[in-house]
Amino acid sequence: MEPTSPSSVQATAAISSIHRSTPSSGTSEREKSSGAWSSSSSSSGGPSHLRTSSTNASTSSSDFVKELETISARSRLAWQQHATSTSQSPPSNTIAASSSPSGPYQEPSRCYICFGTEEDSVGRWVKPCQCTLISHEDCLLDWIDKNRQQFARKQVRCSVCNTVYRLAEPNSTLLNIYSTLDSLVQAGIPYLTFLGLTCSVLITSTTYGAYAVLTVCGTEEGEKLLGSPNPWGWRVWTGLPMIPMILIFSRTRILDSFMPLIPLLIVGNEQLQVTFPPSPALTLSVMPWVRMAYNSVWAEMVVRLETRWRQQQIAASGVSRLGISASIDQDSTATAAAAAAANGADDELSLFDRRDLGRTIVGALLMPAISSICGSFLGNFAFIRTRIPDNFHRNILGGCLFVLVKDLAGLFGTYQELKRKRVRRIREYAEFKDERQ
């Protein structure tokens, strides 16, 4: 949200501010006030004083009035001294003063920041720009300091004539270096924050990656796969942080086109020897292909099943609700159902929708732990233990079985839901009015 700057607003206010803070320019306000003062003081001081105090008494409390009176009395005194010393004929002087504000009498010059005049304030006066604004040095320094809080080298300008205020400062090299460094640090904070966050994400990802490898492969095989930690090669350093991302993206279809390449990139060629049982490196390189094959087979199957189910449902609802023969437009319902089912299957794998984001991410990141648990569960059976002697392959098998069981459960749930929808109906009130609540 940017603050607005209607040009007309600025113009109006700029003009009014010039009016108010220009001691020597002849604005209506100035003439009026100086005219009033000079005329009253030239005739007699009494009426003016009375008038001032009466108007003030009507609007202000006693404290306030006193302050006002001191101010007006002081300026009147100053004026009277001035008038008696410089002019011999008060009437003509009055005319001169009211007609030309730049005459012998001038309204006491006023600091445009604190509004203090020569009478009621102390401090060195400066005229820092080409226009008529003048101010106390301290006031202006305060204003410049406020503007420089964010950027030490910011140029501050006069708000009316746009002249850059210039400071005569002792030019200290050390201070210059310090303030430059200081503003560099200030400017660098967002980048450093970003860098720090990136680093912490990277470290977390690496740790998670190492955890995942060790969980799935078992300590021994895992360490062999990672290689000696002192030092880890670049493949490990890039590969480990990528593991959580790959796990998450494996739930979508975004990276399908080059998912199979990723393990090759990370594991490298030297570990890839076709043996039986396949080494962990080989198994992991094959997993993306297995995943893709499984996904496409599954999608195909789901589309067929769901098409059939929806067809049944539409047919059933057609018969039961409308009471007409569903065979009238069997063909069109079939195609509609097929399209709906295909859409459904597409959604399932396309992006994070349908299952929400959190569930997808947590599910993906829990995968290593789940497959390890399933693997050790499988290890309880002597039959499997004899066929698959090592932990790693049992874990992989466990993970695959888990995915299969989970998907089947999902499919079963969908089926049950559709079936319920097919047979459900709203009960008539007459049916249950005698039942107890």
Partner: protein, 161 residues
Amino acid sequence: MSTAVHRRMLKEYLAIQKNSATRPHLELLEPIQEDDLLHWQAILLGTADSGYEGGRFRLDIVIPTSYPIQPPTIRFLTTICHPNVHFKTGEICLDILKSEWTPSWTLESVCVAISSLLTNPEPSSPLNCDAANLLRCGDMAGYNSLVKMYTALYAMDEDQE
């Protein structure tokens, strides 16, 4: 008591009393209590030929002790429908009250600026998106009638409340 701010407020008050006749759209601009020059109130009158015509809009003005180095805090007490005024809080989005503030502004000139903001809204930096969207789409009839309705609802019978 920081004397600088009080002296300045006192002088602004004097000037405001002196030229009260020269500002037709500012019905009132004065401290709420005479002994506290750091808390002011103002009443803006809606200009003729605008949707705000006939409305009286009360402003709450708080002067920081570092005034005029820091700008005053001004908000609408009267509910007002304007693209640059928050409908609920009355916060005003005006550059001279924030980044473009300079000490040469006075309370009076700021009030005049707010008054002219009423007739010159800036829909590109809205605090009230509904009003701003009407303006952006060029629906002047809709905008004006909306403004008129809220002026009639909130700004006309303030005294009876």
